[in-house]
């Protein structure tokens, strides 16, 4: 019995290679499709991961603790207090890289030439130096240092608009937490260029202490207590742990998706668009396979007639055809995953440089995008791409396999 199964699989395998050219064309089709899908998916994932990483390190980390009402109506007077103890407890949680505190509010940056609305972000310079990409994007002057001081780093677009240079002074005017208008003088310590007009024209960073003075906030108040994780996937677990801490009672503990909904949305939308195109591509590939197998069944009607005449059961014949399709699929999908995997691995190491395709900077919801893309390959992607294409082809093979035994023996043998 086992033997006859072995014989069946031998016949199936050999039957595929009888028409070498056709099989090669079909295999190429599958390999092309699978490879492309893999490369695209991995490129996309790589972009998303990088984007998320940049965005959250610039802002509130993977998990952010904030006043419960802040997200609905952001305002400087909604903050959390007594953050010291909470930070200590969070810092020792597994997987936490560090915490970073932010004090944020709206403001007006005024010079003799004019005024620009801006987001005033009070930061802890050493936390930023360790965790945020911004200090690395300083193009003139230096980053912030110390915790007090009326110093700021501003974006290149803002500097241009207001004709500010390193060392220039400007006035920052805000509505403080009591609703009163407060103005303070400030000096430009450095100019950064993040690569997006929005950020570079709108964001200024000052030391947290200065921001608290500006908005009239108590000593350890924070707008955001950001938690940067080593592995972003653990954020939901970490968020849960934090929300159970007594020091976090009454505050909102949110994963980055809630804090940066635009980034999350972009990723979802882009993923969907990609999926649609990939699905269309796979559909075409599947259709080719389907056609090929159907055709080959049609070609070999006589051969099947002989087999059935000799006493082969229809089930056995169907099994043979199904096996043939299976082998074809396996070879194609495996080949595609291999080729795709190699390509992705190569680009993962060397980077995929698209700066030749576009000259200007790219940004998504204000966060800039690097022009050297690094695709990201995970076992999950391999599994999903390989698995879905394979199962689809298997399902498709059922129809021709079923049909193979439906011939009228006497007719085909004529």
């Amino acid at each position: 019995m086992f033997e006859s199964l072995k014989a069946l699989s031998v016949v199936a395998w050999r039957s595929i290679w009888r028409n070498r050219r056709r099989t090669i064309i079909t295999l190429s089709s599958i390999i092309l499709g699978v490879t492309l899908v893999m490369v695209l998916v991995c490129l996309g994932e790589g972009v998303y991961v990088k984007l998320v990483n940049e965005a959250i390190r610039l802002q509130g980390g993977h998990v952010t603790v904030m006043h419960a009402g802040y997200l609905d109506a952001p305002s400087a007077d909604l903050f959390i207090l007594n953050t010291g103890k909470l930070r200590g407890r969070i810092a020792i949680l597994p997987g936490v890289e560090r915490t970073k505190g932010l004090v944020m509010g709206q403001g007006l940056v005024k010079t003799a030439t004019g005024g620009v609305g801006s987001l005033v972000m009070g930061v802890e310079p050493d936390a930023e130096l360790a965790a945020s990409p911004l200090p690395g994007k300083i193009t003139a002057g230096k980053y912030l240092s110390g915790n007090g001081g009326a110093q700021a780093v501003i974006g290149s677009a803002m500097a241009e608009r207001l004709k500010l240079r390193v060392g220039s002074k400007f006035v920052v005017a805000v509505n403080d937490s009591r609703g009163e208008m407060v103005e303070e003088l400030c000096r430009v310590r450095g100019i950064f260029s993040l690569g997006s007009d929005e950020m570079d024209g709108y964001l200024i960073q000052v030391p947290a202490g200065f921001a608290r003075r500006l908005y009239g906030l108590p000593g350890d108040a924070l707008t955001y207590l950001g938690v940067v994780l080593r592995d972003g996937d653990s954020r939901h677990e970490v968020a849960r742990l934090i929300s159970r801490m007594p020091e976090a009672a009454g505050a909102a503990v949110l994963p980055w998706e809630k804090v940066l909904p635009d980034v999350a949305s972009y990723i979802r939308l882009d993923r969907t668009q990609n999926y649609v195109f990939q699905a269309i591509l796979i559909f075409l590939v599947l259709f080719t396979i389907f056609n090929t197998i159907l055709m080959s069944v049609l070609e070999r009607e006589r051969e099947f007639g002989v087999l059935l005449a000799l006493g082969t059961t229809p089930a056995r014949l169907r099994a043979q055809i199904f096996l043939e399709a299976l082998y074809l699929n396996l070879a194609g999908v495996a080949g595609g995953l291999l080729l795709g995997g190699l390509l992705v691995w190569h680009y993962q190491v060397h980077g995929f440089d698209i700066s030749s395709m576009t000259s200007a900077e790219m940004s998504i919801s204000g966060f800039s995008m690097d022009k050297v893309l690094h695709p990201r390959l995970t076992a999950g992607i391999l599994g999903i791409v390989g698995g879905s294409v394979f199962s689809a082809t298997v399902l498709l093979s059922l129809y021709p396999a079923w049909n193979s035994a439906k011939i009228k023996i006497a007719e085909v043998l004529r």
Binding site: R21, A73, G115, G179, I280, L284, F287, T292
Partner: protein, 406 residues
């Protein structure tokens, strides 16, 4: 005529084989048409979101305005420009811009005040209709104000809220007026969301103590005119002022589009290959299978030339019918998507911004003559070529060899 009738009958002698082959052409063609229409629609939507929302296709400013946005750099003779644009078949909206502070109860924020002509804006641009709540400005100055979505949020302002505007007026004095929110914009783009405070031109003139100041003329033909033509018409009326197309105004968006174009081209080529391979493979098999038949024909005296000719005609007919059906299906699918769109808004909150391009969660396809004609043509050519190759080979074979072919 009989040659065609013969070809037709030949095709249907083996209806299963013909159906399968035709099926390949139909599917490939329709998928290609639909995908092309979808991608063109996407790009169109992206361009539209820029030019039709509020930027327009061409803008005119005073020579140095864009560098420092100074209140005093105004457009010279805006009326002439507007007239010229209208003559060319486009709409033109004059705008004034000035910076200041808006407050609503306890909250305040910096804002850019747009002085607009509501009727023109409504006719020419989509922004006026893109409201999350309330209504756009009235035709006459009435101290109404429309706020950007994020601006309204940070001010905690709603429709009907009172807004205090504080600005540095043109004569150096402090301008101070009260407005009432008539409408709040839906999310349109970061800059507008965060900064836009739109008021009637008349109110703007009062606020800034500046009558008749125009800082920008935004012109659009809503896709009717080519950019070159429009630019030309506007330039001749603008006399050495700064005339820019949207591509120059938002180069990031323009470049992003360029990238999207390249990506879509790559996709199209890949799809084309996959589809073409499908047709080719099927056609090769179908013709190859008939080698024996050709051998018999040769033995009966048919010349190789006749065989190749007959096969070509059959393939051409098959391809034609398949392509026609493919066009039908592809066009219907494309048309449906053009009118109804694919709604993915369940996945994304509105207002996504990529380099200034707004991504619409509802996808629309757009059928053009090119999308409906080019893919079927390519598939048809593939079909005929793929039949020719094995036919020519078989026609050259020794009849006995051909007939013994298994």
């Amino acid at each position: 005529m009989t040659v065609f009738r013969q070809a037709w009958r030949n095709l249907w002698r083996n209806s299963r084989r013909t159906s399968i082959t035709m099926g390949a052409v139909v599917v490939s063609t329709s998928v290609m048409i639909f995908t092309s229409a979808l991608t063109i629609g996407m790009v169109d939507d992206m361009i539209g979101s820029i030019t039709r929302t509020s930027i327009g296709e061409v803008q005119v400013h005073s020579a140095k305005y864009l560098a420092d946005r100074s209140l005093y750099r105004t457009v010279n003779r805006p009326a002439t420009i507007i007239l010229a644009s209208q003559k060319a078949g486009a709409q033109a909206a004059p705008r004034s811009y000035g910076f200041g502070l808006v407050s609503c109860r306890m909250k305040s924020a910096g804002a850019m005040f747009w002085g607009v002509d509501p009727e023109t804006e409504k006719k020419a641009f989509d922004l006026a209709a893109n409201l999350a709540g309330g209504k756009y400005l009235a035709a006459r100055p009435a101290r109404g104000i429309v706020l950007g979505s994020r601006l309204a949020k940070s001010l905690e302002a709603k429709v009907g809220s009172e807004i205090v505007a504080l600005v540095q007026a043109a004569d150096g004095s402090l301008g101070n007026e009260m407005f009432r929110v008539t409408g709040i914009l839906a999310s349109v783009g970061d800059a507008v969301d965060r900064n836009a405070a739109i008021i009637h031109r008349g109110d703007w003139a009062e606020l800034f103590a500046a009558e008749g100041m125009v800082h920008e003329v935004a012109i659009t033909s809503r896709g009717k005119l080519s950019l070159a033509v429009l630019e030309g018409a506007v330039k001749s009326a603008s006399r050495r002022q700064d005339v820019r197309s949207w591509r120059q105004l938002v180069p990031m968006a323009s470049d992003m589009l360029g990238m999207v174009d390249v990506m879509l081209l790559i996709f199209s080529v890949v799809f084309g290959c996959a589809a073409g391979l499908g047709v080719m493979n099927t056609m090769l098999m179908a013709t190859h299978e008939r080698t024996r038949e050709f051998g018999v024909l040769k033995a009966l005296g048919t010349t190789p030339r006749q065989i190749v000719r007959d096969v070509s005609i059959e393939a051409a007919m098959l391809g034609l019918i398949g392509a026609a059906m493919g066009i039908l299906i592809g066009a219907v699918a494309g048309w449906y998507t053009q009118v109804h769109g694919i709604d993915t808004s369940a996945l994304a909150s509105g207002g996504l911004n990529v380099s200034g391009l707004r991504m619409d969660p509802v996808w629309h396809a757009r059928l053009t003559a090119k999308t409906v004609v080019v893919p079927p043509l390519i598939m048809w050519v593939m079909c005929v070529l793929s039949a020719l190759y094995p036919a020519v080979r078989a026609a050259r074979l020794d009849p006995v060899k051909a007939m013994a072919h298994v």
